[in-house]
Subunit: 422 residues, 2 copies
């Protein structure tokens, strides 16, 4: 029998769901200009509330005494960070409106005209880590695409997120948009997430961001469709035809520009045909730059600082200055390796041979496959999408960076002159 | 503790899953021409096996002694029906190849070239009613789009489906494609479906077709993403600006051309501004054509053969010669009615006023919205998709007719010249 607290929380969640659905109905009738105005007003409100948001963030930081440096770094909001959030929302407001976009149009021999157009998905539930700025990004991308959002940020950032949410809601309302276009949860209690995952009538899509544990829980529990953002075990494969200077530059960037992002390279594959020249250039370069290397026997032979890789290393996303490295016999073996050990996120080949490059592009089964470019381009902004909620590693609905357009569905408009079906 | 039979079935299902995954890997490397040749060979094999398929169908029919006439009708395969299956596969083979299709291509200021291309989804599980021809259609559409299929048809058609499957597999193999590109289940036991719904490593997408009970079960149990085909409670709304002769022709076709299809109209809405002239033309026309009418008070007043509609009628998909009918105050009320009682499948307006028509197209939240055309055009073939697995009523991944292209996902190919991310 559910206890009183659970029942109360269920009722609160049901109310949030109904309000989101109602807000989504209103948003669906707004123009892109109206939604853009609402977002600009939300950005203004965040700037106006900067002191209040900073105070809330200080409260979160004080409570989160024993966080790791990197978690603390994600959680902290400087005055510059608050200004950047507002600027980010304005950028999203300035992007082209995905809603109403005509994807395709054709006429059949019977004269019926078919048009496929983008429309909002409806209500999106977003579950994310303790990064207050995601509250702004995720809320803004949802409103941009005509959707209502139910946001559940990490508990360590609860006060910061609530302050940001309050500003966004006031901004939207001041521009005549429904305040409930963006809502938070009434509690950081995990039970609320559990209820959220059952609300298939109220929520059309759940987007989980964060650790593997969270995403696995969401995928196994959710009765609502899930757009998952899994890990990025990204590879850089140096083909025999590679320009080795380019390989070194791209590899260094892919691994070390930022090691904590999902597009960071985690594994280096070197073709046997160029290993004798490539390894002595690439491996000491990585080591000298402060990157630990875990290699197979051939890689270990290059430099005594290389440690032995275990089978587990080949499928590990380190998110730190560590890389696994192996020599592969040829292009086909490289493709098979990436498909076996990789996470179908983002992988790159360095090659001057266009045939090899195209074979890698076709053969590697990942959301993003690059030739002669850093895996760190795995980012909606770098794709030109303006902003992203994350990189989808699922195969359904959206694969790769998820921007405002990926938060839409489509409908068919069919225009006739009295046609009947024979 | 699982008993021996369940364990055995689980192992058999796991084997099917592994074979499907292996077949999908091979299919992913085939050209469209190779897959088309395989499909033509499968069509040839179905024709060569016509007698064997007919005998299997006779066996199914003999066993299914107490089926309703309509179920029996779906189950029965005439020689003409077998030839039509083969012809259907050849048509799918002749359609353009969706795999490798370049959806979009652009270059960023840094010179990186982005291309979004279609690739196969992987492995698709299709659960359907006792219609043997779906075995051929679903298998062919899967192979066309480079996917492996695991097919589970209704138990009444087990022998027919197995015979069709055997022919298709032999045909594919004769053309050098993997036989396991199309597999059936080892048993019609429902437990096998239960296991199938848990196989999220082996299956990328489940498509359930059939009754509400089946689809609800799949949606609530499945750990694999589901592309659902729910009911079609389709509306025809006659606007005040309608050409009433056109309204009569379209309505008759929408309701009565075939009453058992999901695109059949189930509800008529008439605008109050034309009710006085429209109802006396439309209601007796339907009644005289053998269609039962369940109406509100105004509709009942037109003809004593009209019976009173209950609240339940407004949301009922009859799939028989019965229609609900109501008068609505205006266009906005019609849109609100369709969004409230409809099933977001297919709805039509009859109107000469283009402003009203566009408002209906925009306001009705359905997969397919038509102006001045029959709802029975809700069909992949009529859209020009060649064939379809069904009409998706979900909002994720694909909405509306699901043809070969909707059975693909995309990947990004990014081509650079050594770019690194600043």
């Amino acid at each position: 029998m559910p206890d009183a607290v659970t029942t109360d929380l269920s009722q609160q969640m049901a109310t949030i769901g109904r309000r989101a659905r109602a807000a989504a109905s209103v948003l669906a009738t707004t123009t892109g200009a109206e939604r853009a105005s609402g977002l600009i007003a939300a950005a203004d409100a965040i700037e106006a509330d900067a002191a209040r948001i900073a105070a809330a963030n200080a409260e979160d930081l004080a409570r989160a005494g024993d966080l790791s440096a990197s978690l603390r770094d994600r959680l902290a909001l400087s005055p510059k960070g608050i200004a950047a959030m507002a600027a980010g929302i304005r950028e999203i407001a300035a992007q082209p409106d995905p809603v109403g976009e005509s994807v395709e149009r054709w006429t059949r021999p019977n004269g019926l005209n078919f048009e496929k157009v983008r429309v909002p998905l409806g209500v999106i539930g977003i579950i994310y880590e303790s990064r207050p700025n995601v509250t702004a990004d995720a809320g803004a991308l949802s409103v941009k695409s005509g959707n209502a959002a139910i946001l559940r940020g990490g508990s360590e950032s609860a006060a910061s997120s609530a302050a940001i949410l309050q500003a966004i809601r006031r901004g939207l309302a001041s521009a005549g948009l429904p305040m409930d276009a963006v809502q938070g949860l009434p509690t950081t209690d995990r039970a609320a997430v559990g209820i959220m995952l059952t609300m298939s009538d109220a929520i059309d899509l759940i987007i989980p961001r964060g650790g593997k544990g969270l995403i696995a829980r969401v995928q196994s529990e959710s009765r609502v469709p899930v757009l998952a953002h899994l890990d990025g075990n990204c590879h850089v494969y140096v083909h025999a035809s590679a320009d080795l200077a380019m390989a070194a530059t791209v590899l260094q960037n892919a691994k070390l520009r930022r090691t904590s992002v999902c597009g960071a390279a985690e594994s280096l594959l070197v073709d046997a045909d160029c290993a004798a020249t490539a390894l002595p250039q690439l491996i000491p370069m990585l080591l000298d730059a402060g990157c630990a290397v875990r290699g197979d026997a051939l890689v270990q032979a290059i430099d005594r600082r290389v440690t032995a890789a275990t089978e587990q290393d080949w499928s590990t996303e380190y998110l730190e200055p560590t890389i696994s490295a192996a020599v592969v016999p040829d292009l086909d073996a490289a493709i098979a390796w990436v498909n076996r050990y990789g996470s179908h996120h983002t992988d790159a080949i360095i090659a001057n041979d266009p045939v090899a490059a195209e074979a890698f592009l076709n053969g590697v089964d990942s959301a993003i496959v690059l030739v002669n470019a850093s895996t760190q381009f795995a980012d909606g902004g770098e794709f030109g999408f303006g902003a992203e909620i994350g990189i989808s590693t699922g195969r359904l609905h959206a694969r790769g960076p998820v921007g405002a357009r990926e938060l839409t569905t489509t409908k068919y408009k069919v225009r006739g002159t009295g046609q009947v079906r024979p």
